[in-house]
Symmetry: C2
């Protein structure tokens, strides 16, 4: 589809995350050939635990809310209008300590297989 | 860079467009390998004329405002939260008839050469 109004894509629960949903806004089913665009919604007190993707990078844009992103040992408190780049292989996690939903876009390269490696919360990749 | 706060990237004028600016939020200079994320800002009464890219698709997300997008002869009035997919080769244009800035993200595949073909406003590609 070329046009999807807000609310057209139904949110799905994100496995292994807490109070987090994903909407696949533009993906291979629309004819996307190179990358796919998703929206994440993390509810207050929700989080996505520490993980990495060996061969998938993320480009992200914060739509609303205020939350914390960890990338390779660095921590960023991000808000509306901020941009984030998470290279393939980088360990990352998210935590919404705010009072409102955190929403961000996350664009990934189109791959046959979406590999994710989860780490214990106190474990580091390198 | 992994994190860019809002306002960090300076807007540039878009050639051949009217009252339109672009911010390259995440691009090859940050290490992006597969795609690049830009933000467009079209001022009230601004527009981007009819054109197409032979080998570059667009995935877009409307951040704010209300404006009109033409894609291959179809016209969509879009607003905050809407998603748009413009396949490579599709003729498209934008017009902000609203009273406020129109802002949208536009993600494109990373290419050495960004080919654009402009058409006369009353001309069709196919």
């Amino acid at each position: 589809m070329k046009y999807k109004p807000k609310g057209y894509v139904k949110p799905q629960r994100v496995e292994r995350a807490f109070d987090t949903e994903i909407e696949w806004l533009v993906d291979r089913n629309d004819g996307a050939t190179n990358f796919e665009m998703r929206k994440f919604i993390i509810k207050p007190h929700g989080s996505i635990p520490k993980h990495y993707h060996p061969d998938i990078e993320h480009e992200q844009y914060v739509i609303k809310g205020r939350y914390t992103v960890g990338i390779d040992g660095e921590t960023f408190v991000v808000g509306e209008g901020d941009s984030i780049f998470i290279p393939a292989g980088s360990v990352h996690w998210y935590e919404n300590n705010g009072q409102t939903d955190a929403e961000f876009l996350c664009i990934i390269p189109k791959r046959e297989d979406y590999k994710t490696v989860y780490l214990a919360q106190d474990e580091n990749h390198n």
